[in-house]
Symmetry: C2
Subunit: 263 residues, 2 copies
């Protein structure tokens, strides 16, 4: 069972990510969500609010991956240049989209907030693009070619992605298993390489951890082929036991900040 790989690239746009002012959360969110529907996030690029950088990056990602997602730069201020740049990358004009105007007009009606020219900029959409619904703050994203343009604010991006999910065509879903052990990464490394060689259909990653005074290694196995995944996981458990340790069944979880290593 070999799945045709369905891939994605993510372009994160914004000086605030590169200056360290804002910690990006959209990469990890989209990576996990796409994985669940069988789409492999293969590359993330973060660029500044700069036309050349955005145009070049979106073209490169669009040519390379099945799907492209962008986050950031579609708000009402002068530094929000994503829409114009994506249009330029596709040789499209930008127009004030009638349906986007309707949604934004309805959103601001009676809100006490003026629907002024700056906010009307959020209705400017490349000609020929399809709108992406925004259940949080009305201003739509859009799809042009294989590129899905989303905002930078995580809770709005997440709300919009939820609506997009069912329209995305994934490959075979990749399952994962995690086996942890209180053994250093350098101790498992040799035999782990042998297990990887035996199971080329399974991607095996090794991640050292250090927390609460204990160190160890999390071994993460991923594959679309569940029988091979189970067999490789059992081989990893045997490997851990052969080193005199107990395999710890761990739930898949985000590794906390400050996780350390003892190789």
């Amino acid at each position: 069972m070999t799945a045709i790989p369905v891939t994605a690239g993510l372009l994160i746009i914004g000086n605030e990510i590169l200056s360290g002012r804002t910690q990006d959360k959209n990469g990890a969110y989209l990576g996990a969500q796409l994985n669940e529907i069988g789409i492999k996030l293969s590359e993330i690029r973060v660029v500044r609010d700069d036309e050349t950088a955005i145009v070049d990056a979106v073209r490169a990602l669009s040519e390379t991956y099945t799907y492209v997602f962008t986050s950031g730069g579609i708000g009402p201020t002068h530094d929000d240049i994503t829409t114009a740049c994506i249009a330029k990358a596709f040789g499209a004009e930008v127009e004030r989209n009638a349906e986007a105007m309707r949604r934004l007009t309805a959103h601001y009606a009676g809100s006490g907030v003026e629907f002024n020219d700056a906010r009307k900029k959020m209705a400017e959409i490349p000609v020929g693009a399809a709108l992406i619904d925004n259940p949080v703050s009305a201003a739509p994203g859009f799809i042009i070619g294989n590129v899905h343009v989303l905002p930078g604010v995580p809770r709005i991006l997440q709300g919009m992605f939820e609506g997009l999910r069912s329209g995305l065509s994934g490959g075979a879903k990749v399952d994962s298993r995690t086996v942890a052990c209180t053994v250093g990464e350098g101790t498992v490394a040799g035999a782990l390489g042998d297990v990887q060689a035996l199971f080329p259909e399974v991607e095996i990653g090794s991640y050292p951890y250090f927390r609460a005074g204990a160190f160890g290694t999390s071994l993460v196995l991923r594959s679309a082929d569940v029988p091979k995944l189970e067999a490789a996981t059992e081989a990893v458990r045997d490997l851990v036991r052969s080193l005199g340790a107990e395999p710890i069944e761990a739930l898949e979880e985000a590794v906390p900040s400050g996780a350390g290593t003892a190789a």
Copy 2:
């Protein structure tokens, strides 16, 4: 006073970042640290543990930016392929480095942990590269061309970067000021664009926030030209007052996860 821009690119290597299993922290750390010494982090790329992807990305970044930093993939396991890929990008051979062997031998001596073949892999360094000291776990990084190769674990990367800092040549330090206000981004947008046009030497970013039930906008100004920065900041304060709001002097801080927007 126009500074010659000193730029950097960051290459983050690791499937675990792209799958969403691990939240990257190195991008925000390095962005902030480099900014402090007058180096502008201009691009981040995150790629999988894949030779072609790593070689292509490191070449592209090395040709484009003054400095390149990489994080991840220099440990003892089969999925740690960064060193071989960086060497390939520079057409260099990899050798078992005598000084790295000395440091690792000393580190493991008497530790109860065997300095086995897998761990000796961490002493493999491209010929001609300079070592980067690792005050945490001994295994060195290295510098080849303009590329600085660091590990993925944040606390080790940070320890190693601290040692590198004084050897990096930055441009003029970029200062920043933040003015927040309880006004929607779309309300400040028009006049803010006018302030930006008046002060091309100052980069003005607009970041909506929503927390504790209140929404507003943080306006972040950055420049190496402090008098211009102060003048632009005062213009932004005047802008906020002209909208009937009070400018809130805010310390530069990372925006919390889940910050929302009300444009």
